[in-house]
Symmetry: C2
Subunit: 416 residues, 2 copies
């Protein structure tokens, strides 16, 4: 069966706001086994919104409309649905009370405009709100369904998960159209997208030939290349068996470039290894200015294994606080001294360091993009690496931070 | 005149990729004085793409299509344009040569599939590519124009700026439809969106009454509330005078909550003040784990005023490296000692510190969201502040980092 998304809001058309709702809904509806043919974005105009709804209902079984449910005169989704269904808007007492309670709770008087949010087109069912003042709507139109959800992403997602997807699921069951679709993501660092494509060309050809699953390569500067395998079948067991088979093939081919799966990040994987082995970590950062430390501490529970970081941005801080003696502070020797020095001063099992040139200017005659990484510990083990990174200041810093975390991951996995 | 955007690609419909092109194009086309009525996203199907083009051309004077210009059999934008114009696709020798040169330069053989990228619908003009293998297209359709651009954002933007916007500009001039539209953004921190709306209600009412300009409030957790004023007129001088008038009114009302304008960030503003006054800064961070330091060093030239940071995540590092003696490390006293200690150890004019509980767990009996900030220097001046921040771990950390930078900004501006 088919679904499509309509995003409502002039602010989306003129670029004041980035529409992330359509992407999320597209992904979720696809995972429900639905085919998606269109996304439309339309401004705050009742004629244009209702025309977009009619066109979408002519093409698709489920239409999800996001936005236009607020209390102002620019919020026209309710009126457009009433026009499409050719019905009146009637006040819903329960919703009026909910909105009134919300204002009372905050000690505020309810502006009369908010009462418009309690209007429901006849024949539609309201989705009660838990996070804002906008209720959602479930509107049958013949055998098809039109759903209206608020435009604020966290309100939209909560209502979609609680009321819309279960309703779609129920309809799919009733009509014998249910399919199980599941994905598994394999995350890599250190390989280019074209290199991953080349390495996996055999697997991709096999998948294209036997239609058991689809594979997508997704690139992101900070997260590396992700390989997503998606399988569709009548039973979850069958889907899991197909995903497991291809996961194994992909892992075997990509080897230790694979750092994790699904919601893993390099920092969460490194944190898990450190916690498992009861090792503590300290950092010395220069060009990244605290980015690695900030990523490590973004993981809840990082205090179990993370002691701290010295951002030795100025040369004199490298010398006075961490004890660097190397004449050139962008060098392998300086990186080693930073790793060793911070390990000692912070009293940790492992010191990890980064020094380099982020740009735009060269430093000590070293070009932007040159970065030295070093690790001291655990025990007498150590590692170091020189990188030559492409891109501007932001990109060099981001790539350096992820590369340092990945070097530490490999160092720990290689039995250090 | 009217414009609209069509994004082509099944990967956009199923949520594998977030469409940021439509937002950027919507913003740029609006700044050219065009009205935007629709964005459409359509999958890789020649019939659906050509229908979307026909519908868009019926409604708008300029249609920009993004994506579907690659070398594979899924890239169908060229075919769809040929169908809409009812013409043949003919090979363009210059583009064939450019593509061939690109492969030769990389020492690779050109796959025959890439030759499809050199096909141009009759009556259309190619936009030569400088960054990828996909040329763009300028296609007159009656009195209207259809433009095709690659889907890769940096290729798309480069071609839009070089060939599409100048062409639109030329058509607007020829038809006497040119208007000057310019925006000015005022950036604030520390006020809620509804508070800013309330404070500016008089200005908003005045603008709505006299139609001189429009005002938009844009919210972002890290950047605070931005107030964007946009004016449209026949001359740039007139636009600037209107923007200047309302900028002054808004600044007077919002006072020192305004931290900057247009592309300013709090970290760039703080950096500018420090550089102007030849002051140096050192940081001591706990719950933010290096985020403030990372933001300060994201500004090119930060080494002029930034010495470094100690991320004292573990209590023992607060004591041994920065000399904190306060029994409770999430307290006003601990924050003051951190600011003072890091200033001394790093030898800077100013020390800025953050300590607090990011969550999800409480610490020392203190609830998540409680944060203490402190400043030591320049000279004998000092400042401190306690915050109670809402939201999850990520949000508490982000809000704490921006609040610390803003406290430092105000401290410096108040003559410290």
């Amino acid at each position: 069966m088919r679904a499509e998304v309509i995003a409502v809001g002039t602010e989306l058309l003129i670029g004041q706001l980035l529409d992330t709702n359509s992407q999320w809904l597209g992904e979720q509806l696809t995972l429900q086994g639905l085919d998606i043919n269109f996304h439309t974005t339309v401004g705050d105009n009742v004629g244009k919104i209702s025309n977009a709804m009619r066109a979408a209902l002519a093409r698709s079984d489920f239409v999800i409309v996001c936005g236009g449910l607020g209390p102002t005169h620019d919020d026209l989704t309710r009126d457009a649905i009433a026009a499409v269904k050719n019905v009146r808007l009637v006040p819903d007492n329960e919703i009026e009370k909910l909105i009134g309670d919300l204002f009372a709770f905050r000690g505020l008087e309810m502006p009369p405009a908010n009462l418009s949010q309690a209007l429901v087109p006849e024949g539609c069912e309201a989705i009660l709100m838990t996070r804002g003042t906008a209720p959602g709507l479930i509107c049958p139109v013949g055998l098809k369904y039109l759903f209206a959800l608020p435009g604020v992403p966290h309100e939209m997602k909560e209502m979609a998960l609680r009321a819309v997807f279960p309703k779609i699921s129920e309809v799919l069951d009733e009509r014998g159209e249910r399919a199980v679709i599941e994905s598994f993501t394999i995350k890599t660092w250190g390989l280019s997208e074209s290199k991953v494509a080349e390495m996996l060309s055999g697997v991709i050809a096999e998948l294209e030939a036997n239609h058991e699953a689809t594979i997508a390569l997704l690139a992101s500067a900070v997260e590396g290349i992700r390989v997503r395998i998606t399988a569709k079948s009548a039973s979850s067991a069958e889907v899991q068996s197909v995903l497991g088979k291809y996961r194994q093939k992909v892992e075997e081919i990509l080897g230790d470039s694979v750092f994790g799966f699904n919601s893993d990040t390099i920092e969460s994987v490194v944190g898990r290894i450190l916690a498992e082995r009861s090792l503590t970590l300290g950092l010395a950062e220069s060009l990244t200015g605290g980015m690695v430390s900030s990523r490590i501490t973004s993981v809840p529970g990082a205090s179990e294994y993370f002691k701290g970081c010295v951002v030795s941005y100025a040369t004199e801080v490298k010398r006075s606080v961490i004890g660097v003696t190397a004449p050139l502070v962008v060098s392998e020797l300086a990186a080693s001294e930073m790793a060793h020095g911070v390990r000692e001063r912070l009293g940790c099992d492992i010191g990890l360091s980064l020094t380099g040139v982020a740009g735009p200017e060269s430093q000590e005659g070293v070009a932007p993009g040159v970065v030295h990484l070093a690790i001291s510990g655990p025990g007498s083990s150590k590692a170091s690496r020189e990188l030559k990174l492409p891109g501007d200041r932001d990109r060099v810093r981001e790539l350096a931070a992820t590369s340092a975390l990945d070097l530490l991951r490999k160092h720990l996995l290689q039995g250090a």
